[in-house]
Symmetry: C5
Subunit: 328 residues, 5 copies
C-alpha cells in the first residue's frame, strides 16, 4: 500500500464514535491519542500482505501468520497468537435466482482493544456493526469484543438466511419431483447438492469452535458471554439444518431415480398396448389377404364390412382392457 | 406485553397449589409473599421478548440469551447461566392421518425454586404437570426440579408415542411394498423419510445431554435423580429406534427400486410373449398371401381351414410354452 | 401382586442351594434367616411394578427407577444406583424356520449379595444358572456376582448362536443369489436386513459397557473378573460379526439389483432376436404378395418352394448368428 | 492331553537355543533347570483347554480366560492379566487362485520370560522366529518380548502381503470392468467385497492397539520399542489400504451397474435400428400388395425392380443414418 | 553404499551456506568442524538401509526404525525417538494430461541441529529450501526446524496445487455430464474417484498431526511456530477440499446413472414413436390387401391415391402428436 491510500477506521470512546479515514501515519496518530477507555477499529479492503503486517504492528497485534490474511480461500478457523485472537470466517450468501452459494473472506484480529478487520470479496458486514456501536453505549463498553461479536453475529445471521433459502429451494424441488407432472430434474437436484456441499465446507470447520464456546471451554472470558453463545448456537443450528437438508436431497435423488425407472416402465407398457392393438387388425387383414380359392366370406356381400367391424370391435375391447389394467 | 395481559402462574407450598392469573404486578406480589418452603411457576404462551425478560428479572433468573426464547425454530439445547438452567426442547407429535411430524417450541428456565416456562405453538405439556403437582406431595417437595422433570417427562413420553406411530407406519408401508399387489410407493416412502429426518433433527441434539445425565456428568445434583435418568433413557431409546427405523426406510426404498426394475422386466416379457404369439399367424398369412401361381394348397377344398388350424395350434403351443417359462 | 402369588427363589449357602417358592412373607423370612456367607436370589416372571418395588425394598436394594423394570421394550443398559447394580438386557434368539429375530426382556438387580431378576417374555436364562450354582462350589462363592455372570453369559452365548444362524442364512441367500438359477430375492434380502437391524438395536447399546469392562474402567472390582471380560468379549464379537454381516447383506442387495438389470437386458435381447428372425420371412412374403404383373418367379414351377427355402435358410443363419453372439 | 503327547518347546539361553519336545513332565523339568538369563517358549498345536491350563500353570502364567484360547473364531485382542500378556491374533493369507481370504487362530501368552503360544489352524509363524532366535543374539537378549515381536511381525507382514495381493486382484477386476470387452462381473466384484469384509474384520480390532503403541500409551515399556512400533505401523498401513480398496470396490460396483444400464440402452438401440430398417420394405410391400385396380406401376415392365430398388435404397440410407448416429 | 558414493550436504553457519558433496568420511569431517551456531543437512537419494543407519549414527540421531526409511509405500506419520523427530511424508503431484495422482516418499530426521533427509522417487522438495536457506538469514537462524518447515511447506503447497487441479478436473467432468451433449462418462468418473482415493490415503494420516499442531498439543516448542501452523492449516484445508470433492464425484456418478436411465427411456420412446407411425400404413395396406370381392374403393379411379393420402395424413398427424408430447 502506498502511504497515500486511505484506510477507513473508527476511534471509539465511552461517549461515541469518530469515523476517520487516512494513511498509516494518520492511523499512528490515532493510536497515540486513543483515550484510555476507548478502542480503535481499522478496516482494510482487499489489502496486500505488507499493509496488513504494518497495520498489525502499528496496533500492537501479533503479525504471526499474517500472510494467511491475504491468501484467498482460507479455511474458517479461530486461533490465538500471544494476546491476539484471529478469526477467519467466510461471508456467505445464497443467490436465489441462480441457486448459487457465494462466498467471501473475512478476517478479524483483536486483542480486545485494538481491532483490525480484513475483507476480501463478498458482502461487507462492517456497516451494520459501525451503526450499532455508534448508537449503543453498551456495545461500546464491550470494546473489541463487542465489535467481534457484532461481526460474527452479522455473518452468522446471514448463514441462517442462506440456509433457509437453501431449504426453501430444496422443498420447491421436492414438490416438483413429486408433482403430477413429469419433469426430469437430475441436474437441478445435483446442482443444489453441489451448493450444499460448498455451504457445508464453510460451516463445518466452525462447529468445533461453536461446541467449545457452548461448553465454556474457551480460553478468554469474553467469549463466554451470552452473545458469543448465541453465535455458537446459530452455527450449530445452521450446521444441523444443512446436514438434514443434504440428507433430504440425497433421498430426493434416490426417489427421482426410481421415478425415472417407473416412467420407463409406464411408457413401455403404453407403447406396447398400442402396438398390440394395431397388431390384431394387421394379422386379421393378413389372413383375409391369403390367396386361398375357398376362403369363406370373401365373396359375400357383407364379408368385408363384417370383418372390418370385427377388427374394430377387437381393438375396442383391447383398448378397454388396457385402460382397466392401467397400461393405457 | 401490556400490563393488563393476564399470565397464568402457580404458587406452590408444601400443602398444595394455588392457581393464579394476573399481570406482572400480581406476579411481583406473588414472588414477595412466596412462603419459604414453596416455589413459583409462571407460564407464558407466545410472549414477546420483553415480557420474557421482565418475567425473568422479576423471578431473579438470568436474562442472558433471553432473545433466544422468542426466536422460532430453536435448536434443542440445555444450558446453565449463573444460577439459571435453560432447557430448550421441542414438543413433537405425529399426525397419523397425514403421516406428518409436527413440532412446537418449549423453553423452561429454573433455578430450582422459580420456574418460567415459555411455549410457542405445539401442544401444551403444562396441564398434566399442574395436576401432578397439586395431587402429589412428593413432587411438590422437589420444587422447581419436580416441575422440570414433569415437563421433560411429558414431552419425551410424546416422542416415544410419536416414534412408535412412525414405526407403525413404516411397517405398514413395508407390508404394502412386499404385498402381492403391485403398487408404486416412491412418494410415500420418501415422505416418511422426510418426516423421519425432521424427527431426528429434534431428537439428536438431545442425545449428548442424555448421555451426560446417564453417566452422572451433569453439574447439578438434582439432574442425577432417577426421574431425569428415566427421561434420558427415553431420549436414547427414541433416538435408537429412530435411527433403526430410518435405516429400515432406506432399505425399503432400495428394495422398492429393485422391484420397479423387476416389474419392468416382467411386463416386457409379457408384452413380448404376446407380440411373438401374434407375429406367427401374421407371418404365415403373409406366406399364403404371396402371389405364386403354384403355391400348394391354395386351391384345395380344406386348404384355408387347415392353415387356419395350424396357425391356431402354433399360437396355443406358444402360449403354453410361455406360461410354463413364466413369461405369461 | 396378591400376597398369595408364589414367587420362586433360591437361598444359597456355602454348602448348597435351597429352592423355595412363596409369597412376600415367606421371602421376608428367608432374608431374615439368610446365613452370613450365603446369598438370596429371587426370580419374578412378568410382575407388575408394585411387586418389583416391594421385593426390592425387602431385599434392601434401591427402588429408584423401578417402573423401568415393568416397561416393555427397554433399551439395554447398565446402571448403578447406590449399592445396587441394574442390568437391563434383552434375551434374543433366532427362529431359523421363519428367519425371525425374537426378543424378550430381562432385568437383574444386585448388590452382590441379594439378587432380584425380572423376566418379561422370551426364553428363561435362569434354569441353567440355578443348576450351575447347585453343582459348582466356586460359583456359589462368587455370590451375587456369580449369578449375574451366569445370567449374562447365558444370554450373550445365545446372541452368539443367533448371530451364527443369521450369518448362515445370509450365506444361504448369497448362494441363491449367485446360483445358476434365476430367482427374484428382493423380499428375502430385505427381510434379513430387517431382522439384522432388530438384532443390532439389541447389541449395539451394550458395546460401550463391553468396552469399559475390557479396559477395566468399571467401578466395581467384581466386574473386572475374567468371567465378565469373557461376556464383554462375546458382546464385541457378536457386534463385529453383525456389522460385517449387515455390510454383506447391503452388498448382496446391490449385486442383486445389478443382476435384475442384467436379466432384463438378456431377456430383451432374446426377445429381439426372435422378433428379428420372424420379421425377415414376413418381409419377404410381403414382397411376393405385391400385385405386380411382372414379378419374376411367381409363375415358375419352383418359385414358391425356392422362396420358402430362402426364407428358412435366412432364418437359420440368423439363428446361428444370434446363438454365436450370445443373444440367444 | 494325554501325558504322552509330545509338545515342542525351546529353552533359550544367552548362548543359543535348545529345541526340545516332550510331555508336561519334561516341560516341568525344563522350567526348573532354566538358566537365570534364559527363557522358555512352549508351542501348542490345536490343544484342548485343559492342556493349555496345565501348561500356563506350569509356566507361572495367569490361567484367567484360558477357555478363550481353545474357542474357535476368536476376535483379535490384546489383554493383560496380572503379569501375563495375552495376544490373540488371527493369521491370515490370501489364496490368489480362488481369491479367498483364509484365516487361522494364534494366541501368545507371555510374562516376558515364559512364552506359551497356541495355534489353531492356519499357517505357522513360529518356524521363522525359532530360526531368528537361534541365529541372532540380540533377539535372544529380548527374551519373551523378542519372541512376541517376531511372531507379530511375521503375522502382520503376511497381512501386508495379503492386502497387496487383494489390491492386485481389485485392480485386475477394475481393468476387466473398464476394458473394451463387455463382460458381466457382478459376482466377481461381490466375491472380492466379501473377502475384503472378512479381512477387515480381522484387522480392524487391532487398530486401537496399534494406535496406543504408536502414541506410547501402552502399560509395559517393552511394547514401546521400535519393533513394536513397526508392527503397529504395519497394522495401520494395512488397515488404511484395506479401507481404500474397499471404497474402490464399492465404486467399481456402482460403475459396473451403470455400465449394465448402458449396455441395455445400446442393445435396445441396435435392435430398434434393425427393426426400423426391416419395417420399411414390409410397409412398402404392403402398399403394393393392396388390391386396387388402378394402382400405378403394377403393370409396368420395370415396376417391380424399381420398387425393389427403392426399398433397398431406403434401407441403405437408414443403415447409413443409424451408423452415423451411433445406433448401429 | 560404497565409501566412494558422493552424498550432497550443506554446512550452514550464521553467515551463509556451504554446499558440499562427499563420502561418509567427508561427512564425518564436516560434523566435527561444524561451527557452534551452525547446522548440517545431509540429503540422501534412494539410499539403502545401511547408508541411512551409518549417516544417522554419524549425525548422532536415533537409528531406531531405520529400516522404515528404505521401505517403499510408507504411511505418512510423525514420530519422536529420543532426541530425534522422524517425519514421513509423501510427495504428491497431479498429472493433468493423464488425470493421475503420482506419489513419492520423503523422510526427514532431525534433532533441530542435524538434519537427514531421504528421498525415494517423486519430485525433489530440497532445491527450493536450499535456496531459501542461502538467501534468508532468519531461516538460517531456525536451524533444523527451518529446514523441516521449508520442506513440509514445499510438499504441502504441492498438495494444494494438486487438489486444485483435481477439483478443476472434477468440475470439467461435471460440466460434461450436464452438458447438452450426451456422452457416456462412467469410466472417467470412476478414474477420478480412484485418484481421489489415492490422494486421500496420502493426506488423511496427516490430519491428526495437523490438528495437534493447531491445538498446540505438540511436544516440542518449535512446532508451535506460525510456520508449522500454516503447514497444518494447509493440510486441513487440502483434506476438507478433498472430502468435499469426493462427495461431489459420488453425486456426479449417481446423477450420471440416472441420466443413463433417462436416455434409455427417451430412446425407447423415440423408437416406439417411429414404429407406431410405420405400423399404421402397414395395417391399412393390409386391409386393402384383403381379397374381398366387394371391398369398396378398390375399383374406383381415385381409390388408391385416396388411401395413400389417408395413410400419409395419419402418419403426419401422428408425427405432430409425438413431436408435441416430446416423444420425438
Ligand atoms: Mg457456488
Ligand atoms: Mg444472531
Ligand atoms: Mg426464501
Ligand atoms: Mg427459492
Ligand atoms: Mg413430478
Ligand atoms: Mg440469536
Ligand atoms: Mg434400470
Ligand atoms: Mg412435517
Ligand atoms: Mg416417562
Ligand atoms: Mg399407532
Ligand atoms: Mg398408521
Ligand atoms: Mg407390492
Ligand atoms: Mg419411563
Ligand atoms: Mg423380528
Ligand atoms: Mg460365554
Ligand atoms: Mg444354523
Ligand atoms: Mg438357515
Ligand atoms: Mg441366481
Ligand atoms: Mg467364552
Ligand atoms: Mg474366505
Ligand atoms: Mg514387519
Ligand atoms: Mg500378487
Ligand atoms: Mg491376482
Ligand atoms: Mg469391460
Ligand atoms: Mg517394517
Ligand atoms: Mg495414480
Ligand atoms: Mg505454504
Ligand atoms: Mg489446473
Ligand atoms: Mg484439467
Ligand atoms: Mg451431457
Ligand atoms: Mg500459507
Amino acid at each position: 500500500m502506498g502511504r497515500r491510500d486511505r484506510i477507513p477506521y473508527s476511534v471509539v470512546g465511552p461517549d461515541g464514535l469518530d469515523e476517520g479515514e487516512g494513511g498509516l501515519d494518520d492511523l499512528r496518530r490515532a493510536t497515540e491519542t486513543l483515550p484510555g477507555a476507548g478502542f480503535l477499529w481499522v478496516r482494510l479492503n482487499d489489502p496486500d500482505g505488507s499493509t496488513v503486517a504494518e497495520a498489525l504492528e502499528l496496533l500492537g497485534l501479533s503479525t504471526d501468520g499474517v500472510e494467511a490474511a491475504v491468501e484467498p480461500h482460507r479455511r474458517p478457523s479461530v486461533e490465538i497468537q500471544g494476546n491476539t485472537w484471529r478469526f477467519v470466517f467466510k461471508t456467505l450468501w445464497y443467490v436465489e435466482d441462480t441457486r448459487q452459494v457465494e462466498t467471501g473472506d473475512f478476517v478479524c484480529y483483536t486483542d480486545g482493544r485494538m481491532v483490525l478487520t480484513v475483507r476480501h470479496g463478498g458482502s461487507d458486514p462492517t456497516g451494520a456493526v459501525v451503526n450499532r456501536i455508534s448508537s449503543d453505549e453498551e456495545v461500546r463498553a464491550e470494546a473489541g469484543w463487542g465489535v467481534l461479536y457484532g461481526l460474527l453475529d452479522n455473518i452468522v445471521d446471514r448463514y441462517q438466511v442462506a440456509v433457509e433459502d437453501f431449504e426453501d429451494d430444496v422443498q420447491d424441488l421436492e414438490k416438483e419431483v413429486f408433482s403430477e407432472e413429469r419433469t426430469e430434474l437430475i441436474a437441478p437436484i445435483y446442482m443444489l447438492m453441489r451448493e450444499g456441499l460448498e455451504f457445508t465446507s464453510v460451516v463445518r470447520p466452525l462447529v468445533p469452535f461453536a461446541r467449545q464456546v457452548i461448553r465454556g471451554n474457551v480460553r478468554v472470558d469474553e467469549l463466554a458471554r451470552p452473545g458469543f453463545r448465541d453465535v455458537a448456537e446459530h452455527i450449530l443450528r445452521v450446521s444441523t439444518t444443512l446436514d438434514s437438508t443434504m440428507s433430504l436431497l440425497q433421498a430426493v435423488l434416490q426417489a427421482h431415480n426410481s421415478q425415472i425407472s417407473l416412467w420407463q416402465n409406464n411408457d413401455m407398457r403404453k407403447i406396447s398396448a398400442w402396438a398390440g392393438i394395431i397388431a390384431v387388425p394387421t394379422a386379421v387383414a393378413g389372413v383375409y389377404g391369403m390367396n386361398f380359392t375357398n376362403l369363406p366370406g370373401l365373396h359375400w356381400a357383407f364379408g368385408y364390412p363384417l370383418v372390418l367391424a370385427v377388427m374394430v370391435v377387437i381393438c375396442l375391447f383391447m383398448y378397454r382392457g388396457f385402460k382397466r389394467s392401467g397400461w393405457l
